[in-house]
């Protein structure tokens, strides 16, 4: 029996194996999300997050370690300190695996409450996510495009890439204001 079919068989028949499997995925990806959000925040040091979450720094460190097992209350406190929302959802195993396989800490980011126009300004209607990519070219404003709606913006240059989230009416100039100086000389292109 292959390793995979053996695992599937045990997942189907054994409750504890299922618990362990689920816990490993959630226990790795949730700490990784917390770490990504902290490092992508304006105050990326653990003591700052600890202060905002009214927790000891050692607890933040523990919450960022794979296998952490925080309560919903603790997760809510982390989300509140990071100024993001939290969604806990039961899904199919296949969906959980797809979530794990598509997750990249370096690209994970979430719109913070202060920038969450769709929440702060409900009359603004969110549209499906659009992914934008940048490539380094001379700054040519005539080529800039205007995007309106709920957007997830990715930018990449050389060996560096990350994602910043947004749910705002985006003008290119605004966008440039939101990204580091080295990225200003870039053209926005939309990849289908």
């Amino acid at each position: 029996m292959s390793e995979r079919s053996d695992l599937i068989s045990r997942l189907q028949s054994d409750f504890k194996t299922r618990v362990a499997y689920i816990q490993a995925k959630v226990g790795t990806l949730v700490p990784s999300q917390i770490r990504a959000l902290r490092m992508g925040s304006e105050t990326p040091r653990q003591p700052d997050l600890a202060r905002a979450a009214e927790m000891h720094q050692s607890r933040i460190s523990m919450l960022e370690t794979a296998g952490a097992n925080p309560t919903l209350g603790t997760l809510s406190a982390m989300a509140a300190a990071l100024k993001v929302g939290l969604k806990v959802e039961f899904v199919a195993f296949s969906e959980m695996l797809a979530w794990e396989n598509s997750f990249a800490q370096d690209e994970f980011n979430v719109t913070r409450l202060d920038d969450d126009t769709a929440f702060l300004n409900p009359q603004f209607k969110a549209v499906p996510t659009t992914r934008l990519y940048y490539r380094p070219v001379p700054r040519t404003p005539s080529l800039w495009r205007r995007h309106t709606g709920s957007v997830s913006v990715g930018y990449a240059r050389g060996d560096f890439s990350t994602t910043i989230g947004g749910n705002v009416q985006v003008f290119d100039a605004t966008l440039f204001d939101a990204i580091p100086i080295p990225f200003v000389n870039q053209q926005i292109t939309t990849r289908p």
Binding site: A24, T28, E100, A104
Partner: protein, 138 residues
């Protein structure tokens, strides 16, 4: 969406024996194995090792060999993988252990890690590595 994979993980192998593979198969529970796999899968896609959850370079004697640790919890235990880097974003796992406070199982984990790191650095005869496949199908 294609996720960039930056790192490969390799098991330390000496005289044909793979102590990491044996630890994984014989000593870890299901929870430990799942935690181990998930930690490596996530780390492989995180470009800077300093961004890995539970990562830090060791101080003291192991620092001479630039040994690092990668922690994960499973089964109510704090597991620790000790490893070294090689060029080309290769992470070599030297030993796996768990600890409660300062009590490690196996107790000689750090000494073994130092010995194995040296053996790799000095290209000791019979010492090699075996790439650990990161699976996407479970």
């Amino acid at each position: 969406m294609n996720i960039a994979v930056y790192w490969t993980f390799h098991d330390y192998v000496e005289g044909g024996q793979n102590p990491i593979g044996e630890w994984y198969t014989n000593d870890l529970s299901d929870a430990g194995r799942f935690g181990f796999d998930a930690a490596l899968k996530n780390a492989a896609r995180t470009k800077s090792e300093l961004g890995w959850s539970g990562f830090k370079y060791l101080q003291g004697e192991p620092s001479k060999e630039k040994i690092w640790q990668l922690d994960f919890r499973a089964d109510g235990r704090q597991y620790r993988l000790l490893g070294v880097f090689r060029p080309g974003r290769q992470a070599v796992l030297l030993i796996g252990c768990y600890h409660k406070g300062k009590v490690y199982t196996p107790p000689n984990a750090f000494d073994s890690a130092i010995k194995r790191a040296k053996a790799i650095r000095e290209k000791k005869t019979g010492v090699t590595t075996s790439e650990r496949k990161i699976r996407l199908d479970f």
